[in-house]
């Protein structure tokens, strides 16, 4: 198997970074970085009223995607739609009916895996704003090489070279006081899938391999997200004392 340009092995993710509550005026904000791909997400809301065409018995979400350079075009609209549907499925929409929550995503750096990075950032920003959610979402990109092997967390050059790759979003692994061993009849929640966007043509077996690897790696991202949420509260104490 050939080496990847940045020296990682097939299953290795780029260094992850997450900081929350970085914007003063936004009700929730987060900055998520995976290597050189950096995305800033801001959440405003819930605010009263829904747009025309949205169900007033549920809370609605509005996503605005701001690219790093250039005008807003079809690619941005596609990202907005995918992000909106992903967030709608992880948030509890019956808690605040007839409200709109706006999520604004600003791309700071793009080195591949942009949509997964944005989804991770938006999820962290929603937690920061206190929007009620069923569970968190962790997202990862998986690429299929010619010989059938899978590589994770693609950079831009890898995305351009590969024939097929997919962006996958999984629920996070929850902590539970219920002993999982005894209730092993049902599948654990992290075996579900929230969103899948695939580019290029890949065989069905290749797609299922991607799912499996992606799911295994999402446990690591889920653990990182949990640790950063736990650490934040103790960091606030040292930050404010300055």
């Amino acid at each position: 198997m050939e080496d990847r340009t940045d020296g990682r092995n097939a299953n290795q993710l780029r260094p992850l970074g997450c900081s929350r509550t970085i914007l003063n005026r936004a009700h929730g904000s987060a900055r998520w970085s995976q290597g050189n791909t950096i995305v800033l997400a801001a959440v405003y809301g819930p605010k009263a009223g829904t747009k025309k065409g949205e169900n007033p018995e549920k809370a609605s979400f509005e996503v605005i995607w701001k690219p790093k350079t250039g005008q807003i075009g079809k690619q941005e609209r596609e990202y907005e739609m995918i992000l909106k549907r992903t967030l709608q499925s992880i948030c509890l929409v019956n808690v605040h009916p007839n409200t709109t929550t706006s999520v604004i995503v600003q791309v700071v750096g793009d080195d591949g895996s942009l949509l997964p990075c944005a989804i991770n950032a938006s999820c962290a920003a929603l937690v920061d704003a206190g929007i009620p959610m069923k569970h968190l979402a962790v997202s990862i990109s998986c690429g299929l090489m010619e010989e059938g092997s899978i590589i994770l967390d693609l950079t831009k050059s890898e995305e351009e070279k590969l024939k097929a790759f997919a962006y996958l979003v999984f629920p996070n692994s929850p902590l539970s006081v219920i002993d999982k061993v005894h209730s092993s009849k049902e599948e654990p929640i992290e075996h579900g899938i929230i969103t899948s966007v695939s580019y290029g043509a890949m065989p069905v077996s290749g797609y299922f391999d991607c799912l499996e690897r992606g799911r295994a790696a999402s446990a690591a991202i889920s653990e990182f997200l949990r640790r950063s949420l736990q650490k934040q509260s103790s960091e606030d104490a040292s930050r404010a004392a300055q």
């Binding site: 605040h96 949990r226 736990q230 509260s233």
Partner: protein, 243 residues
Amino acid sequence: MDVDTRNMTPTNLIDKIVVPGDVVLDLTKMENQTIKLGSGLRQDYDCISVMQAGKLRLSKPNKYWVESSQKRYVPSLEDTVLGIVVEHRSDNFLVDIKAPNLAFLPVLAFEGGTRRNIPKFETGTLIYARVVKANGIMNPELSCTDASGKAAEFGQLKNGYMFETSTGLARMLLSSPTCPVLEALGKKISFETAVGFNGRVWVNASSPDDVILVSNAIMRSEFLSGTQQRIMAEKLLQRLEKV
């Protein structure tokens, strides 16, 4: 505060930081018990799971809630809040209390309020009121009287300075015994303050210097411990005496 390894299920998540999706109570093991759920928790068939990230708290015997600090406010009954009048309709004022919906303040909900003496609140007036109706679906309703109908400090707040904080800091300022920063400031300066559960604080004192000093001290005290708050307040007070 680190949780055990993934293989061991934690028996108790009380006083630990939880994230949305964590299951904190198994209802099949607790029969014939009444549990009260506060903010941040919801019932998901046979278990209680977390909706908002924060620290899980238990108040014996049976009240569970998630303590978190946000910039927005979720109205709950009998909270005292600071609202800003947005509009004046025929039978109520529309008041912004940093909640997902605007709140209604009936024009008659004042001590001795009749159709003849409706208060004239313009847009932008700061009001100290109490939440009398709050369910998730309807607009919350406020009142400027206490339960027996007396005014009891509710109503318009004149002069002074209002600033916004998080709900966590507002709860700390309202805790009893008195918050250390307020106690330390109160020893040297005379000021009055109104704190709303919705994250708004109003400060009034005889001179603008005092108002600024008290406001800055409160804003800085969010993440400090009791002793740190006292030290910080004393440093600020020393600076005022020098000038």
